[in-house]
């Protein structure tokens, strides 16, 4: 019983250790690393994710909305929405400023959409990396 309580307390302490860092890393790309003292990595991650998001916006990329339907539509739109949302503050800021481009055909717009999605996916990688550093699985 005592071991179980100690284990739960340890797990809770562990969550309290990494959750704020991962949340910070989601909101501001690279901030989790910066908070953990990995300033160069944090700066490079911030620059990469933000540059990708900015280029996507400048190319008038489409920000996905949550939309369900057939399997393909659900995968593309819901997956795209989650990836866009993973960019954190850049996404929230763009939405707050009213950025809303239509989903049009054209190679520039299409590349822009990919840049916006990739920014979120890269930030997910950064969050996982910050989690591993915070829990001691990585230096």
């Amino acid at each position: 019983m005592a071991e179980k309580v100690a284990g739960e307390a340890s797990a809770l302490a562990s969550v309290n250790k990494w959750a704020p860092i991962v949340a910070l890393g989601w909101l501001i790309p690279g901030a989790g690393h910066f908070f953990l003292g990995k300033r160069l990595r944090g700066g490079l991650l911030f620059a990469s994710v933000t540059l990708s998001f900015m280029v996507g916006m400048l190319m008038r990329g489409y920000l996905f909305e949550w939309q369900t339907g057939d399997l393909f539509t659900t995968l593309i739109y819901c997956g795209g929405y989650i990836a866009n949302l993973a960019s954190g503050v850049p996404y929230l800021f763009a939405k707050w400023l009213g950025y809303s481009e239509p989903d049009m055909a054209g190679h520039v717009v299409d590349y822009g959409t990919k840049f916006l999605v990739c920014a979120g996916l890269m930030n997910i990688l950064a969050m996982v990396d910050a989690f591993e550093i915070a829990t001691g699985k990585k230096d």
Partner: protein
């Protein structure tokens, strides 16, 4: 807001650059490993872009 219009090659190289930086940082532990892996990824991306570009060019005749 101005609209940016990059060519296919410029866009692919920019994407390769940012992806290589992030993959290098997040997958390796030491700085030298990160740099080496980032450069390797960049090389693979650029090689794929040129390889597929030539394949499509030759495929179209």
């Amino acid at each position: 807001m101005p609209k940016m219009g990059l060519s296919h090659l410029e866009t692919s190289l920019l994407m390769a650059l940012v992806m290589s930086v992030v993959l290098g940082i997040t997958t390796k532990k030491t700085q030298s490993e990160q740099l080496r892996y980032g450069l390797k990824c960049m090389g693979y991306f650029v090689g794929t872009v040129f390889g597929l570009g030539w394949l499509m060019y030759l495929g179209h005749g």
